[in-house]
Amino acid sequence: MIATKIIPNFSSPAHVDQVGIEERASRFTKRSIKNESKVNGLKLALNMIDLTTLEGKDTQGKVKQLCYKAQHLHDVYPGLPTVAAVCVYPSMVKTAKTALGNSGIKVASVATAFPSGQAPRDVKIRDTKYAVQNGADEVDMVISRGKFLEGEYNFVFDEIAAIKEACGNARLKVILETGELVTYDKVRKASDIAMYAGADFIKTSTGKISPAATMPVTLVMLEAIRDFYYKTGKKIAMKPAGGISKAKLALHYLVMLNEVLGEDWMNNEWFRFGASSLANDILMQLMKQKTGVYQSANYFSID
């Protein structure tokens, strides 16, 4: 089944109050996460990372290195989890798939003319199919922000549904690119459209536009997921991406997740961080918790 049977009304969206949502988001940052809660939270955050490289200059060698890091985050610290997935362009999917083998780490591929999405639908569908045929477990698509801002919600809905169909068994992440939608009301509306059209994940950003993920934007999307869950009984996963590079910020996100959607979402099936440099900061904090002192960044591999 692609879209749910409940017909949503996108013309009368849920309202979001900017002052209120930002105030609520900042409240999560007041939580003081200590000791075992901190260590558990940091390990969980590591396990939720989609380790990402999305550069024009990416090489097979770099992707292989990243895949090795994904499986061996910091071998001097025994018992660490792996990341959730490695996220690459479609042309690198095969390389990543081979490198990750049967480690259990997923291969996620951006598709649909990432990051701008400025391509005809048939090209986007081919892009998606190419990624899936090469072994992508997950597809990160971008919505057509131009069409959305024009008010062509049906176009956006149909496009997501078409890509979902092209994904087959791969899980679909729908990138809203919230930095281009600007208002929280629009983020909420785009979230609703994506979920009703068949998204498995909703994701904030490509990482190519600033601002990328923020806590208030993520909160708007988490609340959309909660409302959708209560209406349909279907769980949708969330992926903030871009701009989350510090362990402390990742913990704030987890506090927010835990207090909005509860513990059922507190795993990497239902929540991911799209990040390239977050892992090393978390590793540094974990080593600090373990040894009592901070180590130099030179002790953590850059891949």
Binding site: I6, H15, D17, G20, K30, R31, S32, K34, Y229, M266
Partner: protein, 492 residues
């Protein structure tokens, strides 16, 4: 199908409530074993030699012994205030008075952590609130009114102002330091001297403030801080040489004060009880409205005179709002006020806890449907689970009387006129809240709601520049802003 299914859908928040302890350190604040009266710039033993204990409501442990002022002590304090007024303070140029008030503000900021810790230990409110709200807002009040001290002619253009004389001030236990700031700062800025009495449960931060006032070299007698219970307050109110009474507290005591000063020349401002209506329309930003309702009623355990204790929800969003409130209730952390993660701390006293529990019982007997968070409570200390009642009637006591605790009474409504009538159908009129995306509706509501403060799409926001005060039995006079100056001057 979908509706049936959603009955079984439930979010789980146990792990969100069970974080590793993150306690603020008690040792960062110094509490003396015994406190005296602050009269004429010195700490003096009470002439009756009586002391009473101040306890920590979170643990029921004794914190300190507090002096009890009798009539003779009150008389001494008023005399000191009168002498300071006549000889020093009323003659001092505004700009000079301002320097002292600014100094007090800065010293509160410098010792903010100590104040926050003591406020939480003494009153039971979460350290997050004392740290982020009570103490900074108290400092802001001193800063704000310091700025007015030499600009009174601009506050009242083309009028001449003169100070009233000695102000007798009596403050409640819910925001001990903040209420002291609300009272002292405008009085000093306008050139009055002060005899102030904190509530007997929560004297400690006022006494810490006395230490600061002493260190700040404020001329002796300008601020006198005396402690004690109702009898001490009555002695201040009845003292013939007091020119003004400023009281924040219950409507019951407010009425007694008003009777006591009838026929005298004393001026008064009374800030009394409330039973605020928080109104959610169907076009409101629901999630933010729910958060506003939570902050409106559970802020400071509901010990807030302007707490949004009555919730009116438009019927088409009623179920959604109640469900979201219940979810939010589950993620609130109830417990040790000194833990930085605590959302709801201890009830201020055993007496207050009994009052709240009694109302919870009444609500159930009245046929309202109760829902409480499943949070477990500490074994010692005075705690109450956050509680909401649905199926409430306007005639229910829980919808009419001020509970002053974490208890919310929810009703639904259909039309704007209906909710205006219901919201105004109360002897109180301190505050109200309106939640809607429509600006015109906000203005319609704010002109028709009979309440001193009406918040739109927010709740419990306080700022020194903004006046605060009530209609009807919520009292009269305004505190804060330019309006707050008017309560401390004669205007010719």
């Amino acid at each position: 199908m979908a509706t049936k299914k959603s009955n079984t859908i439930k979010l789980k928040f146990d792990s969100a409530r069970n974080l590793a302890p993150a306690p603020e350190s008690k040792s960062a604040a110094k509490i003396d074993p015994q406190y005296e009266l602050f009269i004429n710039g010195k700490f003096e033993k009470p002439s009756g030699k009586k002391y009473f204990a101040s306890i920590n409501p979170a643990t029921e442990e004794k914190l300190s012994m507090i002096a009890e002022a009798n009539d003779a002590d009150v008389n001494k304090a008023v005399k000191a205030a009168r002498a300071a007024y006549e000889n020093v303070w009323k003659k001092m140029p505004g700009a000079e008075r301002a320097k002292y008030i600014y100094r007090i503000a800065r010293m509160i900021q410098e010792r903010a952590r100590e104040f926050a810790i003591i406020e939480t230990l003494d009153g039971g409110k979460p350290i997050r609130e004392s740290r982020d709200f009570d103490v900074p807002t108290a400092a802001n009040h001193f800063f704000y009114y310091a700025g007015w001290a030499d600009k009174l002619e601009y506050a009242f253009p083309n009028r001449h102002t003169s100070p009233l004389g000695v102000a007798g001030q009596i403050i409640p236990w819910n925001f001990p330091l903040l209420m002291a700031a609300w009272k002292i700062a405008p009085a000093l800025a306008c050139g009055n001297t002060v005899v102030i009495k904190p509530a007997e449960n929560t004297s400690l931060t006022a006494l810490k403030l006395a230490e600061i006032i002493q260190e700040a070299d404020l001329p002796a007698g300008v601020v006198n801080i005396i402690t004690g219970a109702g009898a001490t307050g009555a002695a201040i109110v009845n003292h013939p040489d007091v020119n003004k009474i400023a009281f924040t507290g219950s409507t019951e005591v407010g009425k007694i004060i008003q009777r006591a000063i009838a026929g005298t020349n004393k001026k008064a401002t009374l800030e009394l009880g409330g039973k605020a209506a928080n109104i959610i329309f169907d076009d409101a930003p629901i999630d933010q409205a729910v958060e506003g309702v939570i902050n409106g009623i559970f802020f400071n355990q509901g010990h807030v005179c302007c707490a949004g204790s009555r919730l009116y929800v438009q019927e088409s969003v009623f179920k959604e709002v109640v469900r979201k409130l219940k979810d939010r209730l589950e993620s609130l952390i109830v417990g040790d006020p000194m833990d930085k993660n605590t959302d709801i701390g201890a009830i201020n006293s055993k007496e207050q806890l009994n009052i709240i529990n009694n109302y919870i019982k009444i609500g159930q007997q009245e046929g309202a449907e109760m829902y409480q968070s499943s949070a477990s409570l500490p074994k010692r200390g005075f705690y109450c689970r956050p509680t909401i009642f649905t199926n409430v009637a306007q005639s229910n006591r829980i919808a009419q009387e001020e509970i002053f605790g974490p208890v919310l009474a929810i009703q639904s409504f259909r039309t704007d006129d209906e909710v205006i009538e219901k919201a105004n159908n109360t002897p109180y009129g301190l505050s109200a809240g309106v939640w809607t995306d429509k600006g015109s509706k906000i203005f319609n509501m704010t002109t028709k709601l009979r309440a001193g403060v009406v918040w739109a799409n927010t709740f419990n926001k306080f700022d020194p520049t903004s006046p605060f005060g009530g209609y009807k039995e919520s009292g009269y006079g305004r505190e804060g802003g330019v309006h707050g100056l008017a309560a401390y001057v004669n205007i010719v």
